[in-house]
Symmetry: C5
Subunit: 340 residues, 5 copies
């Protein structure tokens, strides 16, 4: 996804319409053109076996009305397309047309941004509406390559190819997050500061978002295969099942990441406890060694008139030796206890 996405999105909302691309193809030829409005785009449908209408940006209400009239769509579908912001991935099977949404994810630092993609799959056509700036290069390139299997297949394979690249994007985000988690782990082990802790919380939240994008997509793919709809054919079904397996693998990875994050927090807690133990050991060591010594020097600092020891010339060195022996003994004792 391009870094100019947000900018373009802004521009498109302020008046410039969405960018509409039409790709119509069958085993023999591919035609690709830009359409100025939905009406002219829809006219392409039926000319070749598969027509893919890719809308990058937001459709205006009048365009949506054109779409509804053309397809005799349920008003809810139009509501769903017009809605903004990412929603829960879902599939609605509506008399001959399948409506799908999923989430596009974009990792920025520790945060996961979510955008919304919408699809309409019908007999011989696929309409895909994505935010402005989302390029579908992988699929476009595949269509451009005449040896690619996609050319000889129907709309169901086209949809599979699109979903497959969405899942690929998830995989690369998941890998990036794995790296971030390992970085966080290193940073906790090295400086163990509170910033590291904040990062961990950020990672946790990002993982929850990724999970929420994947899990319902899995259901959507399942519904496509298990559904009685004749829009997905027997030959393409294994591909969808493969995509389904990929979402499960992804979930596994995300769950492993979540375990690693929990683990990290546990380790952090253990380290903090351990460190406290060490600090308190130092404190105790010092106190235990100096408390009796300080007492002894205080003892001979008393001003009693009758303290016979004070006048003996051997007293001072004797006291010094006693204190040294005491200190050494205590150090030995702590050594034996394994305190340092």
């Amino acid at each position: 996804m391009d870094s100019t996405t947000l900018l373009e999105q802004e521009r498109s909302r302020k008046g410039r319409g969405a960018k509409i691309t039409v790709v119509s193809y069958d085993g023999t030829a591919v035609e690709k053109s830009s359409a100025t409005d939905m009406g002219s785009a829809l006219e392409w449908i039926g000319r070749r076996r598969v027509t893919w209408i890719l809308v990058q940006g937001k459709l205006e209400m009048d365009e949506l009305m054109v779409l509804q009239k053309w397809g005799g769509l349920h008003p809810l579908v139009i509501d769903e397309i017009a809605e903004e912001g990412p929603s829960r991935p879902k599939l609605m099977d509506l008399q001959g047309v399948i409506f799908l949404t999923w989430r596009l994810l974009l990792l920025e630092g520790l945060e996961v941004k979510e955008e919304r993609a919408v699809c309409l799959l019908g007999k011989g056509f696929l309409i895909t509406i994505v935010p402005p700036g989302v390029r579908m290069d992988k699929t476009m390139d595949a269509l451009g390559n005449e040896h690619n299997e996609i050319r000889s297949m129907g709309t169901d394979y086209l949809l599979y190819d699109i979903i497959d690249s969405v899942i690929d994007d998830y995989f690369s985000i998941s890998e990036e997050m794995g790296d971030l988690i390992e970085d966080a782990q290193d940073s906790i082990l090295n400086d163990g500061g509170t910033e590291a802790l904040a990062n961990v919380q950020g990672l946790r939240r990002a993982l929850i978002k990724v999970r929420k994008a994947i899990w319902p997509l899995r259901e959507v793919i399942n519904a496509l295969v298990k559904g009685q709809s004749d829009l997905v054919d027997a030959y393409t079904a294994p591909y969808y099942r493969d995509a389904y397996e990929h979402t499960i693998e992804l979930m596994d990875t995300v769950d492993t990441h979540r375990d690693m994050v929990s683990e990290m927090l546990d380790m952090y807690q253990s380290m903090v406890s351990n460190q406290l133990n060490k600090i308190v050991k130092v404190l105790t060591l010092i106190s235990v060694i100096f408390a009796p010594l300080t007492f002894i020097v205080g003892l001979y600092g008393m001003n009693f008139v009758h303290m016979p020891e004070l006048s003996s010339p051997y007293s001072y060195p004797a006291v010094l030796v006693i204190m040294l022996v005491l200190a050494v003994l205590m150090l030995l004792m702590f050594k034996r206890k394994g305190w340092f």
Copy 2:
């Protein structure tokens, strides 16, 4: 919901009956009137395609008896209507009439107040009983607008519209709670006091209440669609499925909020541990630096007659220098250990 709700509720219990509004409509016209009692309200049913009887307040026993006789209702339905306080949302399919309850939520500070709404859906009529003061403006306005789809549709769509606005209310409460959680998070990070902790517990409890209102409502909606009842027709079913999806999204949000609250508690615990570590570090630092120094000054405060060092003029400055060096060395050692 109006702030005078509780007051009105009180008043209605002390004698003033419930407020009954009847809206009867079909594609061509809408008639709206107030009814003084249940009997006259029920007479409206059948005049137009859809009759909506909205009862705001508590029905007296005699009114309930009128309702039961009119509809030949199972005594349990009357018991359920007469009951006070919020119950678990549920659906009972009783020979041609569907009985439904759900919870209305109202966020006051950190507390969630629950009220009870009751519905009877039958052929051509919908009876809705809500606490006094609960206005159903959104649906009333839709009925008032002649271009609104609701006018051309049946009781099933009317019920959907009402449920949909209940869910919308849940969504806005959920958003408010999200804000409250973020506030709590900030307050913990800034002053980390015990009040913040109390708030967190309040939020937790509120989230549990929201969850308990949503989860069974989801089942109720599902039962409406999956049920064999012919009261919900095929065209309206996708709307209910959409509402169903919305409850799932809500649950997702609530669960995310719960995760955030747990996360916050973990973070709080970590902060408290961290802070303890810091305090104990300061304590240890001071003890470790002053313990030997205090010992040294005590040493030369002893009153032995034979302490040769005492009479030398260089002893005092020498001891001062030794102590300074000792203090600096220890500070350096702690610096290297990363203690400050």
Copy 3:
């Protein structure tokens, strides 16, 4: 339940038989009498539409044999009736007779006592065996009231009425426990002692017992409705479904209580940590302030002959001022760190 239960139970075990009450009724009349033995009680069955035999206390083996011969019961049923102590609520559907058990709960302080109730439902009769002293006043009163619906209905409604009052008892125990939990919460917040902690553990255990009484009862009720047995008729089914909903509500409440108890423990842990932090702060404050001061006074307590400061008349007040300034500075520093 009467406080003399245990006493009566004791007495009944030592020889006095169980108290047997027979209530036989139909829409027109109710006959109620005491029976001296099972044999004469069973003779009542068939005289009117419904015969309820209520046994309060333990049946002797010979009585049980009479029952078995009369009903051709499976030996297991007799074993189950003869068994002592509460067992897991269950339902056994045995050729025309349904055998049921559930638990009666009694809250004593923080402890939940469990007792056992047993039921045999057959065509036209219901035999209920409860511990001595368990009065079934609610159902008896309902049977005594000629306007009560129960009079015009069959054994299935009678059983429902009994189960319903058991559930009502659970509800009141659940409410009492809610109060106990709030008390515990207050006591933790106020004195936070270890006794409070012991109470929490008691509450936890009591909640587990309540859960174990409710959960299988829910299954029993479900089995009654879903079972193919013709002993529960279509008109009564909604009542059972209502009772079923009530057990779910109860479970919800119990689960909320369990959450509250867990919450309380978390809060307790946080409070203990917080308190430790505060104590250590005080310790550190005192140490940090007095350690340098004690060092300074020790410094000028040294007995070196050549300490020029000692003879100056301004030294003493100067040292006092320096120490004061030091103490104030440190207090300010701690103030700024927010330590007090």
Copy 4:
């Protein structure tokens, strides 16, 4: 189980064969004899309605081959019988013969020892293979008693009776563990040492083992009742269902025990935290009281020439009084804070 088990087991492995007992019976008579080998034991089958072959010890390979040839058993069954050590309880339904295994448990101190029992149930026969030294007295005694129901029933009831005594053994182990848990609880409350903690971990592990013996046995019993096999007849089915209920009750108890153990660990943690708080309170109290006093006495131990207070005759008692007042004030302050 006999304390000589391990010894006997050892001996049997070193050559001495297993001890084989055959009991053949029907409603009229019981014949009991010892068999020297499997071949002669199998000849008993068919003579009376039920033949029970009880093998105590390990069968040699040649004996197993005799068994396989006789029964036309699947090679897997022989593998399973020959296997050593406890395996997961399971049931295999193999053309007319049902193969079952379960675990025998033996509580030694805090440890649970597991042994393996194997069963083959066929038309008219039941072969049971248990470790040497496992006596099945309860079932043997029942067979010996001519008034016992077991005599008039088939192999299915015999198997039920054996499983029932296994479950009874589990119940008594479960009760012993309950006692051990209460002991551990008391010991934690009284001396709270680390040994207590080690015991808790031992209990935890033992509970997991018990759980693993019970849970799959429950499935085995269920498979016996639900299976289409005609080896379990309608009259015996309720007994199996009863045994099934007992395993659920057992699981409940085990789960309660596990909760109690977790609870105990929580309590232990709380007690440790509490104790730390108390210790630190003492430390702080002493430090806070003596730090200022030590400072004051140090102050007047300074050797300044010009310290006017030193020469006044009232200074010494005044300082003593001041220090006393200070100490008392601080004690009062701590008292008010509730520190002791």
Copy 5:
């Protein structure tokens, strides 16, 4: 698995093809030979009842194409075979051919390495592709032994035998991990250092990997038995069911190991807390004993002119005695409190 695996793997990637072994057999004879390419290997299929093609190493693209053309395989199967790195174990049933993958595990220190095995099961043939260096000696030996059951059975049993040895490998890894966990437990109990903690985290991660290899394999085995495919016959089914039981046992063991690891962490935490308590006790003991003593000696070190005690000859011994008594009293007090 050989220690030269990685080396061989490297070599094979740099050009040397995979090593292909063909074993063709039926009840009467076994033929074993090496094949230079896939084409010639596939020619063996059909000559005898079972043909096993074992590929050790990576197949080049052209070889895969040969395989695809020969079998008319779905392109996805070829993609799956060509893929590198371990994937989630799965099964795809594709018109007459079953495709399977699983994970080979290798324990190196605390780390679990995962490799990928792929299988194609068809009528009369089994193609197994494993990483270079993975020897399948157990199965090869079984085929070499003419008395082994495997010789008289079909491809389904061959596949079972291979899966069975995979599970055996898992069992031995699981046992090794059990030993590692016990070592870690001992090391925590003895030195309780941070390295032990790091090991625990390593074990945790390794256990998760093992779990992820076993769990989906269980599903794969289940799919083989439950599938409608006629490639697994009724006689072999019990073997698969047995393998299925083994995976469940393995899961049980892995879960027990995970419990033990969690337990260990809990114990570690408790030990750290306990140790802190002990350290703080020592600190407190020393402070409490020396604080008053140091105060007393400081008291008589004051320089007041009028301190009558100072001149008495009995004062010094009296103070010494008082201090001794004080120290002894405090020690006794702590003794009674059970502090040492």
